[in-house]
């Protein structure tokens, strides 16, 4: 049991990094990324291919994956220039994400198509005994989550963090104040992209096998659930949100052991209902999420915002 909890904690960790990336792009920067699954796939495939075909080690493959996704995200932000209004931008990201997924599915020479890539190496594999490997992996992933939260919190409190929020709240005001809105948006999306690349690499390390079915659109739903539950712009809350989503998803499997009268096909349906009901309850009782952006913490009660 303990080892299963450890393994699921690893899954929580890389889901949390992914959700944190989304929380920066969307929560702080106001740029809706509906192509998340595609960029996540790009990160995982880039990391795996850099190792399998490029001969890089795990460290440089991870850095490479982060750079590739950051560049891809940056390009999307440039291409969309003036359509960074939420709705239009969401449509563009949706299209790009789908494109990336189709490339992974169809470019057999590179990605082996639907068969997927197997035999992906893991970091520190040579130094650690296989029996204790999951502990090391969890430590490494937890470190990555902590580093991501630290980095994003630092960023949020820096001058750039203020620009990020200003762009989200009203880009015209930000531009009037002399801020370069397009350049800020490119950076927001690229930084988020680098984090998506990190999450994708951790995903590839954990499963050691990646195929296009792992990056279906449900990934986007879970990431948005984690961000909404945790609170937009609240990075620590995102970890809580990602944990809740995973505990609901995997923990609900144990319902059958507790209530033996449930058959497994009934449980399969009930699990999905539980997750939906949980999200609805959350949106009714705590629509602003569990935590709030640090600037707004004084307003945690969710009462009306006071004008300055």
């Amino acid at each position: 049991m303990i080892s299963f909890i450890i393994l699921m904690s690893i899954v929580i960790c890389f889901s949390a990094v992914l959700a944190l990336a989304l929380n920066f792009q969307w929560g702080s920067g106001g740029m809706v990324n509906f192509g998340l699954a595609g960029f996540y796939a790009l990160g995982a495939y880039a990391c795996a291919l850099l190792m399998l075909k490029g001969g890089f080690n795990t460290f440089f493959a991870t850095l490479g994956a982060m750079a590739i996704v950051a560049v891809a995200c940056g390009l999307v932000a440039i291409v969309t220039l003036r359509v960074t209004e939420e709705d239009y931008f969401a449509i563009v990201t949706l299209g790009v994400g789908e494109m990336l997924r189709l490339v992974a599915l169809n470019e057999d020479w590179l990605t082996k198509g639907a068969l997927g890539l197997s035999g992906i190496e893991r970091p520190f594999n040579d130094w650690v005994a296989p029996t204790s490997y999951s502990y090391v992996m969890l430590g490494f992933c937890a470190l990555m989550v902590a580093a991501t939260v630290w980095f994003l919190n630092k960023l949020a409190r820096s001058p750039f963090g203020r620009v990020v929020r200003a762009v989200r709240e009203d880009d015209v005001v930000a531009a009037t104040l002399g801020k370069h809105v397009l350049w800020a948006r490119i950076r927001i999306f690229a930084i988020g992209g680098a984090l998506i690349g990190l999450a994708g690499s951790l995903h590839a390390f954990y499963y050691q096998y990646i195929d296009p079915t792992q990056f279906s659109n449900i990934v986007i739903a879970y990431a948005f659930m984690a961000v909404i539950a945790g609170g937009r712009g609240a990075y620590l809350g995102t970890i809580l949100g990602a944990s809740i989503v995973m505990v609901l998803l995997e923990g609900s499997r144990f319902a059958k052991d507790l209530i033996p009268s449930l058959s497994s096909d009934q449980l399969a349906a009930i699990r999905i209902i539980i997750i939906g009901v949980g999200l609805i309850a959350l949106l009714i009782y705590r629509p602003q999420g569990f935590l709030r952006e640090y600037r707004l913490q004084a307003n945690l009660s969710g009462s009306k915002q006071q004008s300055p």
Partner: protein
């Protein structure tokens, strides 16, 4: 509303972590026995959701049969943990971890689709646990499996061999081929096209299409528009339903040949497109030898009518049966020991037995058995591929599935 502080968050996180920790203490009663756990991952939802429930029922009934007859290894009972793989690779990988780490299973059965099998394969090998899959893609048993991966299904290339032979006999001079972008479909297409060309038939077009498209109009027009005598469409239910709607609307008159997981799917296909659009579609699928005594015995076990054809549940039965037999033969519940006995009980040499209870008695008495399963004769190659499973052919006439023939590769 209450203010959320860092302490509250930590408390909530702690409670969240403690909930799954407490789970094993709540069901101590059955966790502590000397039961032998078996993990069963089945598609209950997702694109293969039609097959999971019957496979689960077959697993349950087989385990009950063995348990009622006294269990194995001196009275230990088989305990099944049946879970939904959601037809997804990452869900299956998480499930496999749960089976191995929480339930301490040494045998993993079910695993219908190729993604499920591929993602669980490295985990099974690392943990030295036997994984028995029901999927067809060649890649699952390729490479060094260390004797832990066993396929209870025909290999994809063998599907192509049987289908191309039937196509030659049906006398199609020109064919079009459409295939779903999927790891088990591509080897079928490759073999099929090679064999058709070698037989001097014309392959007018070959096209791989993506899953989950809202429409397949362009694909249908490209292939059917070239007016081949027949179009072979290898896919799954959701895409094949959309394709056939387009074909019906477009009024194309090429004959259509497909797989039963697309053109039957436990009756869901005809429900989806209607009897008129389904008329004349021919389809193939690996199936048990319905004349074999092992299959007839299985029908009785399931309480099903004598003409019922189960495609996958007999394999699940065989997976549980082979697990029990190999454990009994090795006198050990550990996969590292009993995985080496799978070929001994499946291939023989020994007396042919199709009754699992009888076979277990004989193994206990020290006799050699050659177990004849419900889904196949349970003969394997050393690399873990199954031999001796054949393919059925059906044609849809007047809204009914009419059985044509049974053939082995």
């Amino acid at each position: 509303m209450k203010k959320f502080t860092r302490r509250d968050v930590l408390r909530t996180l702690g409670a969240a972590a403690a909930t799954p920790l407490s789970a094993p203490f709540l069901n101590l009663a059955h966790a502590q026995g000397a039961n032998i756990p078996i993990g069963v991952a089945l598609p209950m939802t997702g694109n293969a959701g039609a097959y999971g429930p019957d496979m689960g029922e077959a697993a349950r009934r087989t385990a009950d049969l063995i348990n009622k007859a006294g269990g194995i290894l001196g009275g230990r009972k088989l305990e099944l943990f049946i879970e939904d793989s959601e037809s997804s690779a990452s869900v299956a990988a998480n499930l496999t971890q749960k089976f191995i780490n929480v339930h301490k299973a040494q045998s993993l059965v079910g695993y219908w689709g190729t993604p499920e099998g591929m993602s669980s394969r490295p985990i099974a090998i690392q943990n030295k646990v036997v994984l028995m899959v029901s999927s067809a893609a060649n890649a699952i048993t390729e490479g060094d499996t260390q004797g832990y991966i066993w396929r209870f299904q025909m290999r994809a290339t063998d599907w192509g061999i049987v289908i191309s032979r039937a196509a030659e006999r049906l006398g199609f001079k020109s064919v079009g081929v459409m295939g779903l972008q999927n790891a088990f479909v591509l080897p079928i297409m490759k073999v099929f096209e090679e064999r058709m060309q070698a037989a001097g038939r014309k392959v007018v077009d070959s096209l791989v299409y993506n899953p989950e498209q809202p429409s397949y109009r362009a694909e249908v027009q490209r292939v059917f528009g070239k007016k081949p005598e027949a179009v072979f469409c290898f896919g799954l239910l959701p895409d094949f339903v959309s394709i056939m709607r387009e074909v019906y609307r477009g009024g194309f008159d090429s004959k259509v040949v497909s797989l039963s997981i697309a053109a039957d799917a436990e009756g869901k296909f005809i429900q989806g497109v209607g009897a008129q659009a389904a008329e004349g579609i021919r389809h193939f699928q690996p199936m048990p030898d319905v004349a074999a005594p092992g299959y007839k015995r299985f029908l009785k076990l399931m309480g099903a009518p004598a003409d019922r054809i189960f495609l996958f549940p007999p394999n699940t039965h065989d997976q549980i049966a082979i697990t029990a037999l190999a454990m009994e033969k090795a006198k050990s519940p550990m996969a590292a020991d009993w995985s080496k006995q799978i070929m001994a009980v499946g291939n023989g040499p020994g007396e042919q037995v199709d009754d699992i209870v009888e076979a277990l008695k004989m193994v206990r008495a020290g006799k050699n058995v050659n177990f004849q399963g419900a889904g196949s004769t349970c003969d394997f190659t050393a690399s873990g591929d199954q031999l001796g499973r054949g393919m059925g052919q059906w044609v849809i006439q007047g809204g009914k599935q009419v059985f044509v023939e049974y053939a082995k590769p």
